[in-house]
């Protein structure tokens, strides 16, 4: 049995998440990945914005920073740039990361600053009761899309990739082993890495979209996730999504580039 207690703030439990919410599953995979990487708790800064998913940092025994809605990456950039020795991880919801925080998202990826970002994609604004988000699928129902969403949705992994991220992976809260492996790879990557995790929100999304229970939602994830290795055509992928390592390249990392600048202007080589 894996000992989660080493990482949890036991006195902050129980958590605020609804029964059946997928957020806790992500937290467990993240803890296992951090443990696997053997990162010292003192050197981890876990940063979030505002939302159900953004409550994650409160439950873990790291340096934890719960910021303003959408701004986690901005704060995290300050932390990492000021002290590149710290291991900076950002957790964010789809609304937090791609609506109000969309600008910070693309720029953190463009800078390729060494931050690991985990995006909990539940296709909805959970915390505020089920309003449409930039990832709400076309036609899906939300409290602010009572007749079905008429806005095309973002593909957040593609967005991160084209903005300049070094590593992009996608998984679901059903595929816990795959998710954990992607977290391990993302944590090890030097540069901006994103792992998008499709998570179930039975309360705010499922109820409105004919997926009444967490079990039904997990089954939906299982049925719609296609390993990227399967190499299907776009037609075959229609209505489904790929999972696994979607992108992995090496690019100069921001804080290392800045260290280079310091060496250049001070004439110090070390």
């Amino acid at each position: 049995m894996f000992n989660y207690e080493k990482y949890l703030r036991a006195n902050k439990l129980p958590h605020i998440w609804c029964p059946g919410c997928g957020d806790g599953t992500v937290l467990k995979s993240l803890i296992r990945a951090i443990d696997k990487q053997g990162i010292d708790k003192n050197n981890i800064v876990l940063v979030s914005g505002i939302g159900c998913s953004s409550r994650t940092p409160g439950y873990v025994d790291f340096n934890t920073l719960h910021t303003t809605h959408g701004r986690a990456l901005a704060f995290a950039t300050g932390v990492k740039h000021a002290n590149p020795d710290l291991h900076v991880i950002v957790v964010s919801g789809d609304g937090d990361a791609t609506a109000i925080g969309g600008n910070h998202f693309i720029h953190a990826a463009r800078r390729n600053i060494d931050i690991t970002m985990i995006l909990y994609n539940n296709y909805i604004y959970g915390m505020t009761g089920g309003q449409a988000s930039p990832t709400t699928p076309l036609g899906a129902y939300a409290s602010t899309a009572p007749f079905g969403s008429i806005e095309p949705n973002f593909n957040v992994s593609e967005l991160a990739k084209s903005a300049g991220a070094s590593f992009v992976g996608r998984s679901t809260s059903y595929h816990t082993k795959q998710m954990e492996n992607l977290f391990v790879k993302a944590l090890a990557k030097n540069g901006f890495s994103l792992v998008e995790v499709i998570v179930q929100c039975p309360t705010a999304f499922g109820r409105r979209n004919k997926l009444r229970t967490a079990v039904e939602m997990l089954k939906w994830q299982k049925d719609h996730a296609i390993p990227v290795k399967a190499d299907l055509t776009p037609e075959q992928l229609e209505g489904k999504f790929t999972t696994g390592v979607l992108w992995d390249i090496d690019r100069p990392e921001y804080t290392e580039q800045y260290a280079q600048v310091i060496r250049k202007v001070t004439g110090k080589q070390n």
Binding site: G58, T68, G78, A82
Partner: protein, 379 residues
């Protein structure tokens, strides 16, 4: 080591940079905006030379966030902006107040609202500096009027931020930001620098928001072994969110009291002119320059006034002002806005003394003659 320091002829924005570096600022996050951009440009050049970090963020909201993040690792951090950017920073300024994160925000004021007068001056943000972010809060804001004052008050802004664990706003304006005067820097051995108090207890006993006697709890650096939680939600002594009315009450009271109870130590002001005059002029920032020139004009007409110039604009030096205003016949407030501080002054004198406003909204410096004329009219 008492080396002779040569005077330099610099812009206000440059003096601000020299002050920041002297104060130990090692992080700048910003977004370009006239008339503040020289601060970012000079720090982009200077910070790496001292091992410091500069970053141009994607907007002012991000810049403010980055500055708070950097400060949490223990660095003295600065951002600089002007009107539109100051508006964007407000939410995260509130975060820094709530989470008690020291940092300095420079606002080189320009005309507003909106894009307003990008290259011309104004003092239209004094009340935004006080109340710009939502919710009840105290704030420290400084308003220098000369290039040496900008230098000294930038250093002071960092000292106050570190001492009181709070964001400090430095209000400049286009006139003093861009004008040049002689500056003699303070030698290193004569400078008094304040650094935040760090915890001395073992990490397992650390309460990051403890109800300490001073009301200012010690602050640990992220990464120093003290793992703690920081949030913009109302929190208890441990830093975690709370809905307990008693804990909320205690926290909110301490948050406000940690500034209000130290008002006497925080406020700075100066007076000039005839201490016995019937007329009191209140002016700050670049308007205080016009007011000082007006005193000279009045002198040559055998008239006098006393000038009260707050250098700390928030908290306002209320006691000193009321003392100075006592038994004067008339007050003239000089400011480049539609009377933001005039209202404050009327409140302070209970409307017992008539208060006149000399103002300018056209982006130009206030003509000393209009101040002198206003004084002559009331004598």
């Amino acid at each position: 080591m008492n080396q002779k320091i040569k005077p330099v002829f610099v812009q206000g924005n440059h003096a601000c940079v020299l002050g920041a570096l002297k104060a130990g600022c090692r992080f700048f996050g910003g977004y370009p905006i006239t008339p503040s951009s020289e601060i970012a440009e000079l720090l982009a050049l200077e910070l790496p030379k001292v091992g410091g970090k500069f970053i141009q963020m994607e907007d002012e909201i991000a810049a403010m966030g980055a500055v708070i993040g950097a400060s949490l690792t223990g660095m003295k951090a600065l951002t600089a902006t002007s009107g539109p950017g100051f508006s964007l920073k407000q939410e995260n300024i509130g975060y820094a107040i709530m989470a008690e994160v020291p940092c300095v925000i420079v606002n080189v004021q320009r005309g507003g609202p909106s894009t307003g007068l990008p290259t011309q001056s104004s003092q239209g943000d004094v009340l935004q500096a006080r109340w710009g972010t939502h919710g009840d809060h105290e704030i420290i804001a400084l308003a220098p009027s000369t290039i040496p004052e900008i230098y000294h008050h930038t250093i002071r802004a960092f000292n106050l931020a570190e001492q009181y664990r709070t964001p400090v706003i430095l209000l400049l304006d286009e006139i003093i930001g861009h004008m040049r005067e002689l500056l003699i820097e303070v030698p290193d051995d004569q400078i008094e620098l304040i650094n935040r108090v760090k915890p001395s207890c073992p990490p397992e006993e650390y309460l990051p928001f403890q109800m300490v006697e001073s009301d200012i709890p010690p602050m640990a650096d992220f990464g120093s072994g003290y793992r703690y939680h920081v949030t913009g939600l109302c929190h208890d002594e441990t830093g975690f969110p709370t809905n307990d009315p008693q804990k909320i009450d205690a926290f909110m009271k301490r948050l406000n009291r940690k500034i209000s109870r130290y008002t006497d130590q925080i406020v700075e002001y100066q007076t000039a002119g005839n201490q016995d005059s019937d007329i009191l002029i209140m002016a700050y920032g670049s308007s205080a320059r016009s007011a000082r020139q007006a005193l000279r004009l009045l002198n040559s007409n055998d008239k006098t006034a006393i000038l009260f110039q707050p250098l700390t604009i928030w908290p306002f030096p209320e006691k000193a002002f009321q003392e100075t205003a006592k038994s004067r016949k008339s007050i003239v407030v000089v400011e480049a806005n539609a009377g933001q501080m005039k209202r404050e002054i009327e409140r302070l004198v209970n409307c017992d003394i008539p208060v006149r406003l000399v103002s300018s909204l056209n982006g130009e410096p206030i003509d000393p003659k209009t101040i002198a004329d206003a004084v002559m009219e009331v004598v």
